[in-house]
């Protein structure tokens, strides 16, 4: 046991030698958190200039207040024009003329980005539809009874606060795990190969160090999230359990990368891009259901998907299929732990390996 503690102590002490990597692993999620919190200050409101609002004050007023069921406005309407701002112009008021509901709204799109065009178009169509339903269609309007998963929509920044924590776990775990092994290739691997200590102890020491560093890193993140995202309720025990599991899995994957690539820079690249890829394909940026069946398959096999689901549950109360999530995460842990042990034993520990 003392030896295990010594290995953990040595691993933690050696963080000083690769301080830049540790700084980037801790700071990156914080930078992205700040970016999203600032960028999503207005949530889903899009700025728009309203022209000729006086021609139909009722619709102009409705456009300003058109909002989600939770009251988040779709448009941030003003009469100030700007060269980059879309303009909604009421050319003919919405009114009944000769038994017909008429009106002409002109939407001047400034962006050439199809995504923004889609977003603006949807909002205006929604506003017009909702307006005529409320004011003219009465019993003919098709009403929608919503059955949402959550009683209230989860605020976008709260979603990101939880989601970016997963990105941090993936990046930190991969980086700490890979560096823990890659630094041994600079000369000490030979000592590990001639040591009588079982590979289990060596690997366990490295894994414990990864998890401890991860808990510190998560502590910084949770503190920053609690300050920047008001009203965030965090179940500390739940977060600690999820973070423990996440760092263990990502750390083991990182250790495999460290054995395979040996070079710290390559390990850094693998960790950076691996974490980004796993995060994106694990619904980190939004659901991957929109990229088709292949995407859905990758998402289902991706441990980050389940880690994210658990963390979203702990932070935002999103329903989670515990049985599936725990089974998949445990399966990934067993597979990675077994693979790391076998690879380490075969390549480094056993006579005939290649510890140099």
């Amino acid at each position: 046991m003392k030896r295990l503690l010594y290995i953990v102590k040595k691993e933690l002490g050696e963080a000083k030698g690769s301080l830049p990597f540790h700084i980037i692993a801790v700071a990156s999620p914080l930078v992205f958190l700040c970016f999203w919190v600032l960028a999503l200050a207005e949530e889903i409101s899009l700025p728009v200039t309203l022209a000729h609002g006086e021609r139909d004050p009722a619709f102009a007023s409705y456009l300003e207040t058109y909002a989600t069921p939770d009251g988040i406005r779709y448009f941030d309407v003003s009469d100030e024009s700007h060269k980059d701002k879309n303009v909604i112009s009421i050319e003919r008021p919405i009114t009944v003329e000769n038994g017909k509901l008429t009106g002409t709204i002109v939407h001047e799109m400034k962006s050439m980005d199809r995504n923004m065009t889609k977003n603006f178009r949807n909002r205006l169509t929604g506003a017009v539809t909702s307006y005529i339903e409320k004011n003219y269609l009465e019993n003919r309007a098709v009403t929608i009874t919503e059955k949402p998963v959550h009683r209230h929509d989860i605020l976008w920044k709260r979603y990101f606060a939880a989601s970016l924590l997963v990105m941090g776990i993936l990046m930190g775990g991969l980086l700490f795990g890979s560096l823990g092994v890659s630094k041994e290739w600079q000369g000490t691997m030979i000592l590990l190969s001639v040591s009588p200590v079982s590979p289990w102890w060596v690997l366990a020491g490295k894994e414990i160090a990864v998890v401890l560093k991860g808990l510190v890193s998560t502590g910084c993140y949770v503190l920053a999230a609690a300050i920047t995202v008001p009203g965030l309720t965090i179940d500390i025990a739940g977060i600690a359990a999820a973070v423990f599991t996440g760092y263990l899995i990502a750390g083991l994957a990182g250790m495999l990368a460290g054995i395979a690539f040996r070079d710290a820079i390559i390990c850094f690249l693998v960790s950076l891009l691996g974490s980004l890829g796993l995060w994106l394909l694990g619904n980190g940026f939004g659901t991957m259901a929109v990229i088709g069946p292949a995407g859905a398959c990758i998402t289902r096999a991706n441990p980050a998907t389940y880690l994210l689901a658990v963390i979203q549950h702990v932070i935002n109360g999103t329903p989670v299929q515990w049985q599936v999530a725990v089974t998949v995460l445990f399966a990934w842990y067993v597979i990675l732990q077994g693979t790391v042990f076998l690879v380490y034993r075969r390549l480094i520990y056993m006579p005939g390996g290649r510890p140099q």
Partner: protein, 371 residues
């Protein structure tokens, strides 16, 4: 001139002995492009379950309108029907396979015909406000189209006018961003790698006792970094061509000035990092992490100028923003202005950064011989 070619040869030998200096600069932006291409290059309609229990025909008509609305993003329908059975739909919805389930009740047609509040039930995943907004508004598109088609007394026009010449896919906008990232990281990484290799070999110390200024050596390093930058950029453009069918090669000559000025700036920053940081890993982390973060903050993945004052300020002080404005203007014809301001800012940043780099290199690598 002999010294210059000798320096170039030396750098070529260092790179040939360890091509990771080239690979690392190419891999990172390429993988970023590949990931975004996979994510946004092949979007599919939102998978939904539509359970039509209607005894009449109005339910089918509504369903047809909902499924036939086309999104400007990717020119694909907003929704794709994946399931029609209620129980299976709800099970798949709970697993996250379906993003929503629409149930049209038995009496929908009857309610339509008798003007008796026709209604539908919509199960939707509102895991974040943006996604919930999409699910709601995509359905509204279908319902609006339904009204327009079947409610003869509705004659409302929503006319769209586009200020821009064309509409471009989001992933193409990102591709131009990653092209700039490739140019920037390719040069920075090469410079740092070669410089720190020499630190490792101890050859840098020799410059301190050299009788001549090391600026020829500096020029050779800058040119090697430029070539590396060019290689990374060309590789990225090739990937954009293969993955997205977006031929960026055709625009490279026109983008040359903006790219050149940005690369000069980034290589100059790499020079400063190499001189003021002792640790190779620290310098590389700062370079790569910094370049990625600056890319992110400067509109690398979107053309929208930030509204939030702090983000707008950050956006304005990063040279990438101006380079991307020019580059996207050339590729998509998006820049209404002639780009004079962009070029002024890029030239100024490049000139200041490069001057600092030259001064720092000269003063830290070489000791002027005593008179």
């Amino acid at each position: 001139m002999n010294r210059f070619t000798a320096e170039l040869k030396k750098i070529a030998v260092i790179i040939a002995n360890d091509p990771r200096s080239l690979a690392a600069g190419i891999i990172a932006p390429s993988l970023v492009l590949i990931m975004f291409s996979l994510l946004f290059g092949g979007l599919s309609p939102m998978p939904v379950g539509i359970v039509d229990n209607d005894r009449g025909s109005w339910g089918r008509r509504l369903e047809k309108e909902i499924l036939s609305q086309i999104s400007p993003l990717g020119d694909i329908p907003y929704f794709g029907k994946k399931e029609t059975d209620y129980t299976k739909s709800l099970a798949e919805f709970e697993k996250g396979i379906l993003t929503g389930v629409l149930v049209i009740p038995e009496d929908f047609s009857s309610c339509m015909e008798h003007h008796d509040k026709p209604h539908i039930v919509y199960h939707l995943n509102n895991f974040n406000t943006d996604f919930a907004k999409n699910m709601r508004l995509y359905l509204e598109e279908g319902i609006y189209s339904f009204y327009r088609k079947y409610y003869r007394d509705i004659d409302i026009e929503i006319e769209e006018r586009f200020a821009a010449q064309a509409q471009v896919e989001w992933v193409d906008i990102i591709a131009v961003g990653t092209l700039l990232l490739a140019f920037a990281i390719g040069g920075m990484f090469n410079y740092l790698y070669v410089f720190f290799k020499e630190k490792l070999y101890g050859t840098l110390l020799l410059y301190r006792v050299a009788p001549r200024s090391p600026l020829l050596s500096f020029s050779a390093r800058i040119i090697a970094a430029f070539l590396s930058s060019l290689l990374a950029g060309l590789f990225n453009a090739l990937l954009a061509c293969l993955l997205l069918n977006l031929n960026l090669f055709a625009y490279l000559p026109h983008m040359g000035t903006a790219v050149f000025l940005t690369v000069i700036t980034y290589i100059s920053w790499a020079v400063l990092l190499s001189l003021f940081m002792d640790n190779f890993y620290g310098a590389v982390m700062a370079a790569m992490g910094g370049a990625m973060i600056l890319w992110f903050f400067s509109g690398g993945f979107t053309m929208a100028v930030p509204e939030q004052p702090v983000l707008l300020f950050i956006y304005r002080i990063i040279p990438n923003s101006y380079a991307l404005d020019v580059m996207r203007g050339i590729v998509f014809g998006s820049n209404a202005a002639d780009g004079t301001l962009d070029y002024i800012v890029l030239t100024g940043t490049a000139a200041v950064s490069f001057s600092f780099a030259v001064w720092a290199f000269r003063s830290r690598v070489w000791k002027r011989p005593a008179a």
